[in-house]
Amino acid sequence: MSKVLMKGNEAIAEAAIRAGCLNYFAYPITPQSEVAEYLSWRMAEVNGVFLQGESEVAVSYMIFGAAGAGVRVFTTSSSPGISLMSEGISYLCGAQLPAVFVNIMRGGPGLGGILPSQADYNQATRGVGHGDCRLLVMAPASVQEAAEMVMMAFPLAEKYRNPVMLLGDGLIGQMMEPVEFPDHLKSEPSNKDSWATNGIDHRNGTTRNLVRSLFLDPEALNNNNLILRAKYERMKAEEVRFEAYNTDGDYQVLIVSYGTMSRVCKTAINALKGQGIEVGLIRPQTLFPFPDVAIREAAAKPSCRTVLSIEMSMGQMVDDVERCLHGIRPVEWYGKCGGEVPTPEEIIDLVKASV
């Protein structure tokens, strides 16, 4: 397929279909409602399922039911909606079901605003729901990457039997860029017969399958949590993704930034190069698992004196950056969270002030 110009939200919707996900439940919220609008007619075209639920709470359980029945299923929402889905996300983790959640973040807390933000970093990477649950979290920086990550998310969710979240800021959802989609993938989790409630006859079985998250026996609950923990450790070993930019030569400053914010940082880095100041960038593409090693190694470069965590939040990822540096370099945070994206000029000034 050749390149087409698409809004991020529409590309996410189309990518899910290309990924073989023909089941979508959602509730409208700015700035991601275009996903539902697009899929309301597109799912009909491909004989898929589109249903607008009565609330995000209900939607997260429609996702649970469908995932439990062994099909590919996803939803999209934005910050306050994800808070409402968090109960269901915890249940999905507990019951080990695969599903994809897209959060096109807006500012908060509370109703906040409808402009872009990255203020749900902690919520996404620290588990979202109650209990010891975690998600694999991917953060795209372009419309093309958003589409590619959606296509990766389904097989990853099935590999780990765990929900995967695509964490995009409002700009990713709203901006238009050229995007190219690969061909369709197959549409059902390959391993589903061993666990899904897809009907005993359907899998030619005699014994029933049970999808649950209740373990009243303390040893059984502990064991379930150990199984989940082992999965999260495996994600840390196998799923870390990041981009390193301008890190070959010597730089005095290392920036860690993701999503739309990282693109602004790149513009600043290119401008600073012209002025003889070298700055490296590590852009996490997975926020959980976090690229600890890559950031520590990049910061350990002898020329590097300081590390900047630049985010559209009031300082959330900065805690992860500090954690993985073990104190080898000073870390500073810079960000904004009203919906304005810090400009390249602001970042240039910031870098100059810290060298």
Binding site: V49, Y61, L214
Partner: protein, 259 residues
């Protein structure tokens, strides 16, 4: 000689954890008998609630999902929309369905989702130790209404069957009970009919079953039956509140009974 009474095939050979005199077990049995009668075990998915019946899957032998408190109708919607060929039922208590899950059941019913809900109304929260439910009777004492339910503060008990029957979307809405043997056959017919409507892909179906909770009502099983009859049944009248097409259903139920 043919056995006249035996364990339904879709029921595990175990004893239940329910208190003496609790009718959850009887209602389970009616569901299992229906699954057997319609020969649908291989394509049925049950959804267990949060409440005393949280482990219904330990007794009824078919595919099962365990819901969060009140969310069973949303889960059933998810399953049924992606796999319309499956037979899906939710089994929910009154705290589960009429309180925390009110939104989910009303909207699923109004969308006409083609699944079946068995709604067990014992006018109290059983599992958590007898707190007030939306279905608790006026002046009924519970652990959170120690002076009796004050309707001027918390309103009158909600009649779910009547409330859902106001929806314009076609559906089968009925109220039954199993407190006495004479009620049980009627309740069984209603549950069968509810499943048949689903099988025929006709409508959402809802069977409210007035049940007992001797433990949290603080009564003997015998007194509990009496109290249900004297206090609950006058306020929660039995019978169909809504049917999409009675004649056709009658024939289908008769055919299922004959098979």
């Amino acid at each position: 000689m043919a056995k006249l009474f035996q364990r339904p095939k879709s029921m595990f050979d175990v004893s239940t954890h329910y208190c003496p005199g609790c009718t959850h077990g009887v209602i389970h049995r009616l569901v299992a008998e229906t699954i057997d009668a319609l020969d649908i075990r291989g394509r049925t998915v049950g959804i267990a609630p949060v409440g005393c019946a949280v482990m219904a899957y330990n007794y009824i032998d078919c595919d099962f999902q365990e819901a969060a408190h009140g969310r069973a109708p949303a889960m059933a919607t998810g399953i049924k929309r992606v796999r319309p060929d499956l037979m899906v039922f939710t089994y929910q208590g009154d705290g589960d369905l009429a309180s925390i899950g009110m939104g989910e059941i009303v909207h699923a019913a109004n969308r006409g989702e083609k699944f079946t809900t068995i709604f067990v109304n014992n006018a109290i929260y059983g599992m958590t130790g007898g707190q007030m439910a939306p279905t608790t009777m006026p002046n009924q004492r519970t652990t959170t209404s120690p002076f009796g339910r004050k309707t001027e503060e918390v309103g009158m008990p909600i009649r779910m069957a009547e409330l859902l029957a106001t929806l314009r979307t076609p559906g089968y809405i009925t109220r039954q009970t199993v407190i006495k043997p004479k009620h049980i056959q009627k309740a069984k017919k209603a549950i069968e009919r509810a499943f048949v409507y689903q099988m025929e892909n006709r409508c959402f179906s809802f069977v409210e079953v007035i049940s007992t909770c001797p433990t949290n009502w603080g009564m003997t099983p015998k007194d509990a039956v009496q109290w249900a009859e004297d206090v609950l049944l006058p306020y929660y009248p039995l019978g169909d509140k809504k049917t999409p097409d009675r004649e056709v259903t009658e024939k289908l139920v008769a055919a299922a009974g004959a098979a």
